[in-house]
Point group: C2
Chain length 240, copies 2
DNA sequence: CGTACAATTGAGAATCCTCAAGGGTAGTGG
DNA sequence: CCACTACCCTTGAGGATTCTCAATTGTACG
């Protein structure tokens, strides 16, 4: 199960520059009126479940968290993959229940921010308030971009985009950890396991990517970018 | 073009109970330090465009507004349909550009809320702040539900749900205005004009709905609810 | 009454899903 | 150490769904 590591020292936190406290001056940090609990989760462990009473927000310190949403009949979807610095659990602000579940994809470490404490801090500190507001708008933008992707783009376009985005910060030609199963990739993009498997197999054969264990390498980024841009579509000539 | 009607009197506003000022006590309303401009738009007119400098939020007073997002290649999608009480233009909080466009679907009347004024009010008034925060979380939830719908549900399920939702507040068996074209319905659900047209034609033939001019009536809500729930799927028996 | 746009309908094809079978891999317990 | 299990991945065949292209009809509005 998840393990409590201790209480965080925000002033000396290694990922503070990514967090909502990034812009707080050191003197202000002393005013943070609570010490967030730091919890460690192993891959596959649940952080919170859709339907649980929502009264805590979380900041990801390390690892990858998938945020999923399920339908009554069992169909589900991965809404976001969150990494270091992300803030989870907005539903807490409504003092209701979580409308999604959060699950560790890799081993993770998270800070717990009780809603009441964070709310008090937000009201008293303009920088924290602004940081939260910005994250909020950014989350909404991201969700809206995903809606556009889901509704207008083909499977190959979406998968190619996801790989490139995942790979964005990596050195060209290097191996990158991809701790997601085919099923999870499908749940992000709205495709089935088999479809993902077929696309990746095809791209491996064509020399666009290589895979080994749970690592992936992009060998032909240009072609992949073309696919992501939809240039493999049948005919979309702009000439009359 | 859009026409300026005048400046709003929040205290006596007919839709205040739906707005972010709903919970302000009458005495507090006098403290609203600005008079929102009220503007009228005719069907089809643009309220703001993706890429415009974002410094104004809007409250819908009457009519229906579609909020759309476009890809570089021209493909686009309707993110939301907004009605009385809705707040638009969150991007203004980031002092950047609008990442969507807002267009009047029917004749509309909107209040303009300059970001700077609203921001000042939000910081000074806890109720306004809470109201905005709640709308934010609600918007995010709605976007996430739509993501789930777009990625997991079939066309018929989505269209049936949309009609039922649209019809939710109407009396059973009554005619309801549906000012959306087939193309717009498709842009909401991620389907083409032709697909929408075929679904509706089929349902008309089967006696589930009736259409006349731009009005629609649901004749067999039960069957439609079944379709929306996915009960027309091939086989999903839970027995072994 | 012409023009522009919306809706319909058909035919064929692209895309993706479902079902099914088989192979690989990692962890577990005797 | 090995069998066993569970889970993930792959691949094929067939079919459901939806798109694309094209032609036609209907409708609103100046």
């Amino acid at each position: 199960m998840s393990k409590l590591v201790g209480t965080g020292q925000c002033a000396s936190c290694a990922i503070r520059h990514l967090s909502i406290f990034a812009n707080l001056k050191p003197t202000r940090l002393d005013n943070i009126p609570f010490r967030p609990l730091v919890t460690r989760y192993k891959a596959g462990e649940t952080i919170y479940l859709q339907g649980d009473k929502a009264n805590t927000l979380f900041t990801v310190r390390s690892g990858i968290v998938k945020v999923t949403k399920s339908l009554a009949d069992g169909r589900s979807h991965i809404l976001y993959l969150e990494t270091a610095g992300a803030l989870l659990g907005w539903d807490s602000f409504l003092e209701s229940c979580y409308t999604q579940s959060a699950i560790a994809v890799s081993d993770c470490e998270l800070c717990q921010l009780p809603e009441a404490d964070l709310e008090r801090l937000r009201r008293n500190d303009r920088d924290v308030d602004t940081a939260i507001l910005q994250r909020w708008v950014t989350s909404l933008r991201r969700a809206e971009s995903r809606m556009l992707d889901l509704s207008t783009r083909k499977g190959t376009e979406k998968l190619a985009s996801l790989l490139l985005e995942w790979y964005a910060d990596a050195a060209p030609g290097s191996w990158v950890e991809l701790p997601l199963t085919r099923g999870e990739l499908g749940e992000i993009l709205g495709l089935t396991v088999e479809t993902i498997s077929r696309f990746l197999a095809d791209w491996r054969k064509r020399g666009l990517i290589s895979e080994e264990h749970h690592k992936i390498r992009i060998d032909d980024p240009d072609t992949l970018k073309n696919i992501a841009a939809g240039n493999n579509r049948k005919s979309r000539t702009s000439s009359p």
